[in-house]
Amino acid sequence: MTLSSNGQHFKQEWEKNVEKTMQRFPERRRSFHTSSDIPVDRLYTPESLSEDYINQIGFPGQYPYTRGIQPTMFRSRYWTMRQYAGFGSAEETNERFRYLLKQGQTGLSVAFDLPTQIGYDSDDPMAEGEVGKVGVAIDSLKDMEQLFHEIPLDQVSTSMTINAPAGILLAMYIAVGEKQGVPREKLTGTIQNDILKEYIARGTYIYPPKPSMRLITDIFAYCQEHLPKFNTISISGYHIREAGSTAVQEVAFTIANGMAYVDAAIEAGLKVDQFAPRLAFFFNAHNQFFEEAAKFRAARRMWAKIMKEHYKAEDPKSWKMRFHTQTGGSTLTAQQPDNNIVRVTMQALAAVLGGTQSLHTNSRDEALALPTEDSARIALRTQQIIANESGVADTVDPLAGSYYVESLTDQIEKEAGAYLERISEFGGAVQAVEEGYMQREIHQAAYEAQKRMESKEDIVVGMNEYQVDEEIHADLLKVDEALEKGQIEKTKQVREQRNQEIVDRCLQELRNAAAKQDNVMPPIVRAVQAYATVGEIANVLREEFGEYTAM
């Protein structure tokens, strides 16, 4: 938009004043930039708004969904407050789950330990020292039954951070539901199932990219038929950001990965409108408040355009980017950990103003260990305070029309678009990952951020400035070191009590399906019902698919 002549006059007046003021009070920096190196102007005016504002921004619940995917957003229902939790044994985690539900949490989110995430049983030599450390240890259906003991699966939605063995854990969830009398079509929740970002940033891959992509499309196809209400994937920028990317890279690489999954599913013979409505996303809420809020708006608009224009999806549900958000773990400091509550609050606010569908707020002590019950409660309360006390949820997309936020939204879309072009030159995300392109870009950004911090160009309160002498520890959650032994013992008993003949037959069926390009999900479901373990099932696929080793 252009300014009226009157407006021009006032603007010139202001510019003169700026010059005068700057002589006496120079600005803090020669130039200002966001985390993505987008220049930040001194002032934004109506001139920053696009002439075609209404088409560009749209209305809530309407294409291109800049303002949110529902017409009324949080006026109808708050976002889902979903705290990621899990540690030690299934019993302990079940207890934490039930505590969180009692405290008003509205969805579950399971953290699995690393052996589970990489398809090893607790008694595998590779698992030594890692059992129950960063999440709950699940070996067999027996553990999964205990994990959801007295939690009715038709009443909660469950998100599971599981990728390479996603099909196995989903199969266990189905089996637990059946034992509770809940039919699979009633199950709601999400499996992360996003292998590409594992190669890029998170590291819990098992198989090489090609068979991994096939496992994912097998799950898409299976869920479309049997679990219509389950989100089949959560395409994650969160970990890309944690690994050190900028906000623009987070959006670009996540969308590039999303396109790779859509391509793979179409290639596997699925119709875009059959599976696209069940795709979900997962983003980070980092420090720079306006850039983060704008990032969510930009990502939503980009995805809508890509699905409609590039993939010719016709169902509006296929255009809508639904996403979960977690506040940025790597922004937390081990020093003065209570300051983290404030960081989390601002990050959570940016996510809410960006229109997230669900939210995890980190606990203050997570730079040091898994959260204690007290810390986890404060983190949940932070969301409840934003929802119930701040009033920010009472109107839809309140930052819209801010000259600055709209300008940032446009800029992020433009720069992320440039990355998408670069990635398509590689032949798509799978190729770009295999050539290490995204990994290098992220590492470069991470190293620069580290240098800015060490030179104090970037201040981290309590860490490189405003330090105090303190003993860094407080009350930390300790995972019982004896747990590993107990878990190994438990799994040994399961193996002794089950019918080994059935297990062997199920695993053979799985092997055949994997070799013949049949959908692997039905044999996996039968195998877990026979109490075959995560490791046994993952190992059959290891033998068929091989293992991925990074460069």
């Binding site: 690393l114 052996p115 995430q117 990489i118 090893y120 590779m126 698992a127 030594e128 020292g129 890692e130 450390k133 960063v134 594992e198 998170r202 590291g203 819990t204 944690e242 690994a243 050190g244 790597s330 400091t333 081990a334 020093q335 730079a367 040091l368 260990a369 898994l370 590492h443 991470a446 190293y447 580290q450 060490e454 860490m463 490189n464 003993e471 860094i472 520890h473 930390l476 995972v479 070191e481 080793t549 990074a550 460069m551």
Partner: protein, 270 residues
């Protein structure tokens, strides 16, 4: 000099290698040759890589909480490979209370969250060039500022019953010093010779009392060089000649929490 070779390794199943990659890059920027193992390395794999690559130091990173079982295994595996001369350092998400346990198991040093990469590089350089700081030998003396040695001596000689060893003028410091032996150390009474003496201004500000503690060291030159690299504040960047022809240098009290320390290396004649 041959560049220092470092193996950065990720033991266990943890996939978070942002820190490991940043440290690898930072050490390269410090002129070191860095080999990064990649994820999911067993202790034996790490030890063999260390031997094959002929590295000077192994750096381990773990953020999954498995450090207590994994780090000592690497130390063990190096021993089995006959390479226990390669020091192991570590970092990641490691609670302070676990550090003594890890050090007890032979890990040289743990860098916790927030450690600057420069500090890690400086530490490795010192470690490899055998420039580790050795323990000070003893308290060489305790310096006590007095208005007048003659007036103060009767208390030390008669009330406390100590024996006066020597009185000496130290022109460079504008002080007269009286030495009283006590066990393997001494008390040193310091009287200003004129207004420009540091003791004169000390007396003016704080009155008489304990002025400094002198620590006997045998590596003064090397220490001063290292402190300079580490940015530790000194009053004297170069050794000076003190009483008994000793080499001395004072540290800045800001660097030592308000205590004035003198580093004291006996002269050749003593």
């Amino acid at each position: 000099m041959k560049p220092i070779r470092v193996l950065i390794a990720k033991p266990g199943l943890d996939g978070h290698d942002r820190g490991a990659l940043i440290i690898a890059q930072a050490l390269r920027d410090h002129g070191m040759e860095v080999i990064y193992t990649g994820l999911r390395q067993s202790a034996v794999q790490i030890a063999r890589a260390a031997v094959q690559e002929d590295v000077d130091v192994v750096g381990l990173s773990s953020l999954s909480g498995a450090h207590k079982s994994l780090f000592p295994k690497v130390v063990e595996a190096l021993k089995k490979e006959g390479a226990d001369d390669i020091p192991v350092i570590g970092g990641g998400v490691i609670p302070a209370e676990d550090i003594p346990y890890l050090e007890g198991k032979g890990v040289h040093k743990i860098f916790t969250s927030g450690s600057p990469t420069d500090a890690i590089a400086v530490y490795i350089k010192q470690l490899i060039h055998q420039e580790t700081i050795s323990t000070p030998k003893k308290i060489a003396h305790i310096g006590i500022a007095v208005e007048s040695i003659d007036a103060a001596l009767p208390f030390y000689q008669h009330t406390l019953g100590m024996e006066l060893e020597a009185v000496e003028d130290v022109e460079s410091e504008h002080v007269r010093a009286a030495f009283l032996r006590i066990g393997e150390t001494k008390l040193e009474l310091l009287e200003p010779l004129n207004e420009t003496s540091a003791i004169a201004s000390f007396l003016e500000k704080r009155g008489s009392g304990i002025h400094h503690i002198a620590l006997e060291v045998d590596d003064l030159h090397k220490r001063l060089q290292q402190y300079k690299e580490q940015g530790i504040r000194m009053i004297h960047d170069e050794p000076k000649t003190g009483a008994h022809q000793a080499d001395i240098a004072f540290m800045h009290p800001k660097a030592s929490g308000g205590v004035l320390y003198e580093l004291w290396q006996p002269g050749k004649g003593e």
